[in-house]
């Protein structure tokens, strides 16, 4: 396997990484909104949030991507492949992250909230200063896990015309007839990226613990 082939794989890995990180970030914002909706106690927020979560957690990502790419144009929204890829991944991960956050918020000790109430904290203050930081800390390992899952799931976005690491590896393997070294290299690149994410995650988790201890 030549250096040129490996460089091509690395270039494709960059688009895998870029799409995944952007989607994780957008997904996190949506997940926070969903989570806030679920905790609002008002059914006009809870029901749509539940529907969103069940839909995007219940339908395979591949089907979601194809829906966004080929069905939205029917109602006049013709999104390019890259947008379809990011929207699909973001909505899917948002549903999972919202469930993780729910677990985190449920894990906040009741006593702390009551104490805050007694100390005269407003609901917003309690949320921002006590519940959110603790929930986030509890959710963090799951969030890192989700980032790794999305990075691997991003191999599906080739169905909307995006060349990412897996598609590039397939194309190169079929034109060079060197499937073994090429797929092994692709596996190595995925492994290295995900290890770095896991390490950064552990580091961030430690400093989060320090900050809220």
């Amino acid at each position: 396997m030549t250096l040129k082939l490996f460089t091509l794989l690395l270039e494709a890995a960059l688009s895998t990484l870029g799409i995944s990180l952007v989607s994780i970030a957008i997904g996190f914002v949506i997940a926070m909104l969903l989570s806030a909706g679920m905790q609002s106690g008002k059914s006009i927020y809870i029901l749509p949030a539940r529907l969103f979560i069940s839909f995007f957690r219940g339908v395979p990502l591949l089907v979601q991507l194809l829906l966004i790419y080929t069905l939205l144009p029917v109602i006049g929204i013709n999104v390019p492949g890259i947008v379809a890829a990011i929207v699909g991944l973001s909505l899917c991960t948002a549903a999972y992250q919202a469930e993780n956050l729910r677990g985190g918020f449920e894990g906040v000790p009741r006593g702390l909230i009551e104490a805050a109430d007694v100390a005269g904290f407003s609901a917003t203050q309690t949320f921002l200063r006590i519940r959110a930081p603790i929930a986030l800390r509890l959710t963090f390992p799951a969030l890192v896990n989700e980032a790794i899952m999305i990075l691997k799931s991003s191999s599906l976005v080739s169905v909307v015309g995006i060349i990412e690491l897996t598609k590039m590896a397939q194309d190169l393997a079929s034109s060079t007839y060197l499937p073994l070294p090429i797929f092994a290299s692709a596996a190595l690149i995925y492994f290295v990226i995900n290890s770095v994410i896991a390490l950064l995650g552990r580091y961030a988790e430690k400093s989060l613990k320090g900050a809220t201890a």
Binding site: L5, L8, T70, V74, V159, V160, G161, S174, S175
Partner: protein, 275 residues
């Protein structure tokens, strides 16, 4: 009563949809010229028409549309998708035309507007070199044969299989490249695909594979695919004329020679397919 209201609502909905659709109506060729870009959809796992050679998109289609782009004065933008999503994406307006190309079949010309043929597409068998158990197409009876999912070759193979004394064990693949890989790995004994494709594969992997002649089934041709709607008519007409023009001045034969190692005599218009 309720039913009537529902029907009314449905009628209004349909009218709204129809008007919003016709509001978009516009001549695609004019749009392409104005934008200076022709968007062409294809899959890149169909050598020698479209494939990735060490990261570069190459093949007869790339050369053909480069010529067409020159003549039309526009840039060509490729949208590369797995074959499964190429036709739905054409209907969704993701690109202007499909370079596919696809075998011209009855079902396809019923739904799409296909261009004049660019090559012959009759189906033949590719086997592992030195496999003496397959010397003629009929020898695949009862054996595991790979073919592309949702392809015309699959239809031809099914029809052919039904005529054999023992049915062929047909394995469907998302891309033909996977089928060739399984042939090399010995999971299947043959791949059924159009003659130009397997001739190219046999040439590329010198010594590993062999083509089993003659081809079987109906004589078929490859054409590019456009939609049947009025917006696309002028564009598909243009591509049609370009194919005829390139056939007349010998450019098409040269491309076929370059990519298949042989040139084909193809009809000037879409032939009436047998199946």
């Amino acid at each position: 009563m309720l039913k009537r209201q529902f029907m009314k609502a449905a009628a209004v909905g349909a009218m709204l949809l129809a008007t919003s659709l016709s509001a978009h109506a516009d001549d695609i060729l004019a749009k392409v010229k104005a934008a200076g870009v022709l968007k062409v959809g294809t899959e890149t796992a169909f050598a020698p028409f479209d494939f990735i050679d060490a990261g570069e998109h190459k093949g007869l289609n790339v050369d053909f549309f480069a010529e067409l782009g020159k003549d039309l004065g526009v840039k060509i933008e490729w949208v590369e998708l797995p074959w499964d999503s190429v036709l739905p994406s054409l209907e969704a307006g993701k690109f202007d035309i499909v370079a596919g190309p696809a075998t011209i079949t009855k079902a396809r010309i019923a739904r799409y507007r296909m261009t004049a043929p660019i090559a012959e597409a009759s189906v033949a068998i590719l086997k592992k070199a030195g496999d003496s158990s397959i010397t003629k197409p009929a020898d695949i009876a009862g054996k595991a044969v790979g073919v592309g999912k949702a392809t015309a070759q699959l239809e031809q193979l099914k029809e052919y299989s039904a005529k054999l004394p023992e049915k062929v064990n047909i394995k469907e693949y998302v891309s033909f490249n996977d089928a060739y890989a399984d042939l090399a790995a010995g999971r299947i004994v043959a791949v059924a695909n159009s003659l130009p494709n397997i001739a190219f594969v046999a040439k590329q992997r010198n010594g590993a594979f062999e083509v089993v002649t003659p081809s079987f089934g109906a004589k078929t041709y490859f054409g590019f695919i456009g939609t049947k709607d009025d917006d696309h008519k002028t564009l598909v007409d243009y591509v049609d004329n370009e194919i005829i023009a390139m056939k007349k001045d010998g450019r098409l034969a040269k491309l076929q020679e370059k990519w298949f190692g042989t040139s084909f005599d193809t009809p000037d218009s879409v032939p009436n397919p047998e199946f």
